[in-house]
Symmetry: C2
Subunit: 582 residues, 2 copies
């Protein structure tokens, strides 16, 4: 251990999410608090500390009976007893006038609380008799109280994010995020020899990359763009012989106003050489298991794996929530002699079938208005095509309705991981169904058994793509990549009708000794929000943007003077000017 | 250990820079190679493996005598013996026609090399007798050979970066970077309880922030900016009670064309509450010691610490290279009765003095042309003011000249860390010396003993700023911050004459129970380039930009169509249009 000389003592009760009891755990539970003004943190004091002289630093949570200050730091609360002696009256005066959330340093002695005054908080058996107090900063009147039960509007929370982050839930979320990411790094870097490589975020615009932010340069007309992922770089790093790459990559996506999307987000970005699908899946299962918070039930591996076809057949969606059954059932056979007109019509259509969802005790739980809401899709819902995605939505809606009427359908503490594989490599373009587009991206390799179809029946080719699904949300996706330039050029030029010269550097790289390789990217924000049960990814991001992409605290984005834009050779097209000219 | 079931065996000879022999070391030296196609890496094979069936994956480095393939992966080289049997001729034919840098998988058996054929490479005692070979990718003719001794131009290296990164030096640099950063994270997160928090890079433009890239939003006239550092966020996190924050932060600076600067770079960003200068300095000394590569001589702490005043007096610069002496000497006294006219003139000026640098054996080593180059600054160099910075440059120039003539002045394997402290808090503005500007930034707190001068003689105030210098380069800087809103407002409004409303969210935050806090940022790219002895930070960045800010591989920044700019309500001001109109 290299800790000698740094860590004078082991801190008891290290706060926040714990981890498995390994050597790492021991290192983690040691804090060198000699670096700071305090001798102890508020939350760590226990009866074993009775008699000790301590120095605490923190915030005034509240005063009680002019006798106690409840003091808070990141680790928890401690009760400070204000001495009532005549010669300490100045101390009492100073503290009792102090607004909540002011910052103080207290020196005092730990003692047991008198009989009957203990409570159940972690430091509830002791209190600190203050000997001296220093007021480090006085707090103004705040726009809301720092108490967990105080409800605040989303916009107020965002405007005063530095206050919102003081809540125990946000402290927990950010500390969990840090520790989970640290465990991921240990697993990838220390256990599996991955190399953490930073890739540029000022890059070249992808042709047609409508969701990419542009960044003007000082050369007239030339722009960088902020990439949506390091896809090209991670593949180039494999060509470069890095062998195993990972990065906690900042990615950018300009989607305008979409709820619960962020213009910048973080992905756990991974790429490996000389690997197949099973290798990547095994790696990720180990990653999740290794980094999983110890206070949750352990994750068992391998994760179940189903094909895209089966997912669509059983759940009507490519990211099924497998915490509950209620699978789609084909009951066409039961009705093959039916006289019921609309069922007969359905069966007579090409590929027509009759599907059902069996809701356990549905008749008992679902009321009249529920039936209405389930019928909302369209009066002639039954004839809609494709019928399965609609049924997939119905299945989720039924689960919500049942839960609304008090039936336990999905266990909120359960985490169901699922691999979905064997996606089609290409799909017909919505705007022109005779043309094909990539189901995921043009760099995914075909399944080996379908590879020969690439040159004859490309629409029949299944890709080596895999999605990782958790509780019905897609939290990751990746693929084995095309590593031969000729195949990549065929896909880009012949199948997708794109101009391969725009990716000439990638084609050249594949032709320069590219190893077989594949990878995956996990959406860290979404993954974390599911783990902590947060309704929005904003709850696991320190300073998120509003759903309109605004920073409500600093008021970004903001106006920039014409003069400041000159060096970038751009000018604003004000819409009203246009209107005026027209 | 959580490795059970994942790691089938311990890999010998884990390549790349090693680390101190802790538990971590053991974890790090274990690679689960079952994830990939290979059974072993090329560089790990030793006589102990003789008789083992191995599968290797890698690149054809070169062929020798139609008998051997020298095969390379990230871990090193292995010699493959091509069987000469009649029934294996197909194998020979396939390999002997294969261009260098093609990718192959070889199955074979490890055997000792025949007597006299061993060499000194790590795998030099063994070879692998090939049983089967699979050609995974054929390599085209490359623009340069992947051999360390082949000299390439900088622009060719950048254009084919994925080939350049195959060199052993670049592999070493990127792997060292990854491991050093991992150790830093372990130290901060696991040993000292720091919380890794990601902060936004799409932020509000700093008023007058001429070096900030702008990012147009979809709202007319509104722009995000890419911040030069997370300064505001790290302080807000302290107000939020995070207590200890760190981040490997991507930062942006648009400086146009400056050699050895990058438009995006990485800093190790740290902030702590309830801490003083000594606490931060101790933390950083421990950080450097903990993460220092084990193959270098260990770093001893504490680092020496000198004041700004002393640095300027002794070295004529605020980032002295202390690997050699040759300090500036004031020899005014010796000449106080001088008759030499120009010296007399100098002494008669207000504050005039005569300074010298004593060059050991200078007369012997410095030739006529050296004297000329030392006089290059100006014919009347001697009268220039301020004289000290010029002497500081002269001192470095003398060291270079001495080294050029073969004298050992600076030990290239020595690492001299130095703290420089007690900087002035404000400096006169260059364009208007009656006005003050921040020597570093407006958030630095004054030295406690100078705090009273803030309201009377601000130009006399020294700040609680500290710079970390390594071998004459500034690799980090930080400060204890102002944590009271009233002081911060006074600095912004009264001293710096800035509009405090532009930072109203920060002032409000300081007034909301801000704890005393301070921090530091280390320039990771520069730090690494000094450690590996690289001439440029481009040698420790995977995909750097050229000195004009271009990506020579993808040709970014690039033109974007008018149409694509429409959604951002901007248009390009083409200079030639202007010229035409004029």
């Amino acid at each position: 251990m290299l800790l000698v000389g740094w860590n004078k003592r082991v801190q008891r009760g290290f706060p926040g999410p714990g981890w498995k009891n390994t050597t790492q755990q021991i290192i983690m539970s040691v804090l060198n608090i000699d670096l700071s003004f305090r001798s102890h943190t508020c939350g760590e004091l226990r009866p074993a500390d009775v008699g000790e002289e301590v120095t605490l630093c923190g915030w005034v949570q509240y005063l009680r009976q002019d006798l106690f200050v409840i003091m808070r730091d990141f680790s928890g609360l401690a009760q400070i007893l204000i001495p009532q002696d005549e010669d300490k009256m100045n101390l009492k005066t100073a503290l009792c006038d102090l607004p909540p959330e002011s910052v103080i340093r207290v020196k005092g002695t730990v003692r047991l609380r008198p009989d009957g005054q203990e409570n159940k908080m972690p430091t509830g058996e002791i209190e600190v008799l203050a000997e001296s107090v220093e007021i480090l900063n006085v707090c103004r009147k705040l726009p809301f109280e720092i108490k967990d039960f105080v409800k605040k509007s989303e916009s107020l929370r965002m405007q005063y994010r530095y206050l919102d982050l003081r809540s125990s839930q946000m402290q927990y979320n950010l500390r969990l995020r840090s520790q989970l990411v640290m465990k991921m790094r240990e697993y990838l870097c220390n256990v599996h020899g991955f190399v953490d490589v930073e890739t540029p975020t000022l890059f070249k615009r992808t042709p047609g990359g409508a969701k990419e932010f542009v960044v003007p340069s000082r050369e007239p007309g030339r722009f960088y763009s902020l990439p949506q992922s390091p896809q090209q770089f991670k593949q180039l790093l494999m060509v470069a012989g890095i062998d195993r790459y990972f990065q906690l990559a900042r990615c950018y996506r300009d989607e305008g106003s979409k709820p619960d999307r962020q213009p910048e987000f973080t992905q756990v970005d991974i790429e490996m050489s000389f690997v197949d699908q099973a290798g990547i899946r095994g790696l990720i299962e180990g990653l999740v298991q290794y980094s999983w918070p110890v206070e949750k039930d352990p994750v068992s591996t391998p994760f179940p794996c189903i094909t895209y076809e089966k997912a669509m057949k059983d759940y009507g969606v490519d990211k099924p929530d497998t915490r509950f059954a209620m699978k789609l059932m084909d009951i066409s056979k039961t009705f093959h002699n039916t006289e019921i007109e609309f069922l007969k019509d359905a069966l007579n259509q090409p590929g027509g079938c009759i599907q059902a969802i069996c809701i356990p005790d549905g008749a008992k739980h679902l009321k009249g208005k529920d039936h209405e809401s389930l019928n909302f899709h369209s009066p002639d819902f039954h004839y809609f095509l494709p019928q399965r995605p609609l049924l997939g939505k119905l299945r989720l809606q039924c689960a919500e309705l049942l839960e609304g009427s008090g039936v336990a359908v999905r266990d909120p503490s359960a985490f169901h991981f699922l691999w979905v594989v064997d996606f089609p490599l290409f799909l017909p373009k919505e705007e022109d169904p005779d043309q094909l587009e990539s189901a995921h991206h043009p760099f995914t390799a075909p399944l080996p058994e379908d590879a020969h179809l690439l040159y004859s029946l490309p629409h029949k080719v299944r890709g080596q793509h895999y999605d990782l699904v958790l509780n019905g949300c897609e939290i990751g996706g990746g693929s084995i990549r095309i590593h031969k330039a000729s195949d990549q050029q065929h896909v880009l030029e012949t199948i997708l009708k794109e101009d391969p010269s725009l990716l000439s550097h990638l084609l050249e790289a594949l032709d320069s000794g590219a190893p077989p390789h594949g990878g995956i990217a996990l959406g860290l924000d979404r993954f974390l929000s599911i783990i902590v049960g947060a309704p929005s990814i904003r709850d696991v991001i320190a300073f998120p943007k509003s759903f309109r992409g605004h920073d409500l605290m600093s008021r970004a984005p903001d106006f920039v003077s014409e003069d400041e834009l000159k060096s970038y050779h751009i000018a604003v097209n004000w819409p009203y000017i246009k209107a005026h000219i027209c």
